[in-house]
């Protein structure tokens, strides 16, 4: 599919590269974002990269729509490259039990042991495809084929904050308590959105990679207490 421009009302344009979850498409989205940012166009309020598209929210009385359309189609030609700013993260997670109430069911549905599910999830280097849905909420992918399950038939009214969840080819961590229909496997002490870091309130950025690391219950509680007390900074979660 050639990149094309879609109208998201009169105040936003979407540059669409395709309709699939695909790291190659996502890399083109990020390259187009960087190329557009370099132009420093006046009248743009937000630029939102997703799996497969780049949406520009703008003031059409300040920035001519035809000009923006042309610039976006030019930016779409930028060669895909991995962002120089991408960071590798290592996120500790306590799995199962009260923290991951769906682990047993996921193991049953996939015909594997709980240990095998944990091992497969933690063996994958997951790409951050986009941040959305909630402040700091990362869409991570892709999971091994056999671990891909449909969403819960009945979503939970309240998923606890910091829950690690999976659905389809995706994994995510809920930064806030919220309704949710994904399978809950565990809990992390890591804060994915922190206003204390004004320069980067969302920990993860598209293009980053994440590897989950199993933590015992005691280690989880100790880390959570240290995060709460401000003893642990965010650099702690960068992969060494």
């Amino acid at each position: 599919m050639n990149p094309r421009i879609l109208a998201l009302g009169d105040g936003a344009l979407t540059l669409e590269f395709g309709d699939r979850i695909d790291p190659a498409l996502n890399a083109r989205v990020m390259a187009a974002r960087d190329a557009l940012a370099a132009l420093k166009l006046d009248g743009i309020s937000d630029v939102v990269p997703t799996y497969r598209s780049l949406t520009v929210h703008f003031d059409p009385l300040r920035l001519d729509r035809e000009i923006l359309t042309a610039r976006l189609l030019e930016a779409a030609q930028a060669p895909a490259k991995e962002s120089a700013l991408a960071t590798r993260w290592r996120i500790p997670v306590v799995f199962g039990g009260e923290y991951g109430p769906d682990l047993a069911e996921v193991a049953r549905a996939t015909g594997r042991s709980e240990a095998a599910v944990i091992e497969a999830l933690c063996a994958s280097e997951l790409r951050v495809f986009l941040i959305g849905f909630l402040p700091g909420f990362p869409y991570l992918g892709e999971l091994p084929e056999w671990l891909r399950l449909p969403r819960l038939a009945t979503p939970r009214a309240a998923v606890p904050a910091n829950s690690l969840a999976i659905a389809g080819a995706q994994a995510a961590v809920y930064p806030w308590q919220s309704p949710g229909g994904w399978h809950l496997l565990g809990r992390t002490p890591v804060r994915l959105f922190d206003l204390g870091d004004a320069a980067r309130p969302a920990l993860l950025a598209p293009g980053d990679t994440v590897r989950f690391a199993p933590a015992g219950r005691d280690e989880f509680l100790r880390l959570a207490a240290d995060v709460e007390a401000g003893k642990i900074g965010r650099q702690e979660w960068q992969a060494k």
Partner: protein, 339 residues
């Protein structure tokens, strides 16, 4: 300082919103009707995007702990009670000086939402460049939550001499909402598109600052495409249609991305009207071109500027109120009998 005595329905602080953070999943937020926010602020002698209280359906009772000027944009049924228990009507679309210990009872809101601005603005911390409340993530306003009894909010200035009124209040048109075909128009059959433009929809009870779920005709997805997309960006005014075929119009607090096909987008000029939609209200849609949408934006901006330019000193308050009190009821009855 203003003290909240009670707040029966959700009310939140809103300003021009929180642009620039949607790539982090942070919604735009801000006033559902940015025009009325600007009018409330103009009546309070503030710049247009100053934070004000957005009130839904039934407004709070507020006590002035010190002299303060407060302005109301909306169809409130308000009165002011003084410390001795005397009550006087507080007319809409103007500023009112409250003396210490006077209580503003804002009452029912016929306009669905309305705005209360104070001269000098409410003294609240900026969070990511905005004071707008986004309750789901606890951002902005007072600790990121709705207003509640017992809250005390500091006011930026206490110039009680200010008195302004709006001679010609804005009216909300009843014409169909203007839309531009959406990014996923092709996900819907032509029959569904025709239905969308011709059918009558009703605002359901599932309506809040995130969006309005509509009852009425079901909009059928083209079976070649289905009802799911790989998530991409949405914006206030987006009309998305999940698998059940019931459209949802997204509003200021909507999430930044969504996984449902988007059939259309309400144009920017008509966004403020959506904030006033109440459960049970009927809605119609009409397709317009991008050029028409931009012309409508320019016209809306010009009308707002003209409206605000018409703000006059409020010294006529006494005469107007006396006139209304003396003649209004007789006048209405006479007019009905004449017909």
């Amino acid at each position: 300082m203003i003290e909240v005595l009670d707040c029966p329905m959700p009310a939140s602080f809103q300003d021009a919103g929180r642009p620039g953070y949607r790539h982090l999943g942070v919604p735009l937020s801000g006033a559902l009707d940015a025009d009325w926010l600007a009018i409330a602020n103009a009546l309070a002698g503030n710049p247009p995007g100053t934070v004000a209280l957005e009130v839904h359906l039934l407004g709070p009772r507020l006590r002035a702990k010190a002299p303060v000027t407060i302005a109301m944009a909306g169809e409130f049924s308000a009165r002011i009670e003084d410390a001795a228990g005397q009550s006087r009507a507080a007319s809409n679309w103007r500023s009112h000086a409250l003396a210490t210990d006077e209580i503003l009872v804002t009452g029912n809101l016929r306009s669905g939402i309305g705005y209360l601005a104070v001269h000098g603005g409410f003294d609240l911390p900026q969070v990511l460049g905005s004071r707008s409340t986004y309750a789901r993530a606890g951002l902005g306003g007072i600790d990121g939550r709705s207003l509640r009894a017992g809250d005390c909010i500091t006011v930026g200035a206490t110039n009680t001499r200010l008195s302004l009124r709006l001679p010609r209040p804005p009216h909300l048109p009843a014409s169909p909402l203007r839309v531009i075909p959406g990014p996923q128009r092709e996900y819907f059959t032509d029959a569904a598109w025709a239905c969308f433009l011709n059918a009558e929809f009703t605002v359901s009870r599932e309506a809040d600052r995130m969006g309005l779920r509509l009852d009425g005709a079901r909009l059928e997805h083209d079976s070649a495409y289905g009802a799911d997309i790989v998530s991409d960006a949405v914006t206030p005014g987006t009309i998305q249609v999940p698998g059940d075929g019931r459209p949802i119009i997204l509003l200021a607090d909507c999430q930044t991305v969504g996984g449902y096909p988007k059939i259309a987008t309400v144009i920017g000029a008509d966004l403020p009207r959506l904030g006033h939609a109440l459960p049970g209200q009927t809605l119609h849609f009409v397709e317009v071109s991008i050029a028409q949408a931009l012309a409508a934006r320019r016209q809306a901006a010009a009308e707002l500027a003209e409206c605000i330019a018409g703000i006059a000193p409020g010294s006529a308050e006494f005469n107007l109120d006396a006139l209304y009190a003396a003649n209004l009821i007789d006048g209405v009855i006479d007019a009905q009998q004449a017909n």
